[in-house]
């Protein structure tokens, strides 16, 4: 049930083409990641809404195939 960091970035990039995306594999096990996403698409959104947009980009994998993704977001 692990996911490749490149796959995570690709999914996020598909929804936020302009984004600055940093992904770190926290435990080196392909299962615990931290992601930082900076995009102009977050403008005017609450933090909850920003995270919901990223989770949407991940298409339901969060909490499933993707067990642990520590997420931070910011407006570009």
């Amino acid at each position: 049930m692990a996911m490749d960091s490149g796959e995570i970035e690709r999914l996020i990039r598909a929804k936020f083409p302009d984004a600055l995306i940093e992904i770190r594999d926290l435990a080196g096990d392909g299962d615990h990641y931290a992601a930082h996403v900076v995009s102009s698409a977050f403008k005017g959104k609450t933090r909850v809404q920003q995270h919901q947009m990223v989770y949407e980009a991940l298409g339901g994998r969060m909490g499933g195939a993707l067990h642990a993704l520590a997420l931070t977001t910011a407006e570009a």
Binding site: R47, V48, H51, Q52, Y55, G60, M62, G63, G64, A68, A70, L71, T72
Partner: protein, 117 residues
């Protein structure tokens, strides 16, 4: 009424009847997941009186609360009926002092002498 609807109504009532509610894995005394433990720890440090719901005891609540907030993971913190966030957001808000500001704005009592580093 469908069972799913009953669960949504139960969640709505629980977050309306309690000022601060944490849906978590395990309970505040014994969290059973690191992310739930982190949020319980932050609330404990701030001395906030909160109601804990152990989602591991009821699969319909575990799945129902994800639908309720459109949020894919547990823990989930609610203040005065409003979804505030999961572990990442609560940690970020606690570190920035924003969580205390939210409690101030919502009239929730906490220990203002406590700072989270």
């Amino acid at each position: 009424m469908s069972p799913q609807q009953d669960v949504q109504d139960w969640i709505r009532k629980t977050v309306a009847d309690n000022d601060v509610v944490l849906f978590m894995k395990g309970n505040k005394a014994m969290p059973q997941c690191g992310f739930s433990a982190q949020v319980a720890h932050i609330l404990g440090l701030l001395g906030v009186d909160y109601h804990d719901v152990n989602v591991l005891q009821d699969m319909s609540i575990r799945e129902g609360v994800k639908a309720f907030s459109n949020w894919p993971t547990i823990p989930q913190l609610y203040v005065k009926g409003e979804f505030v966030g999961g572990c990442d957001i609560i940690r970020e808000m606690a570190e920035g002092g924003e969580l205390g500001q939210l409690f101030d704005a919502k009239g929730v009592a906490y220990d203002k002498s406590k700072k989270i580093a």
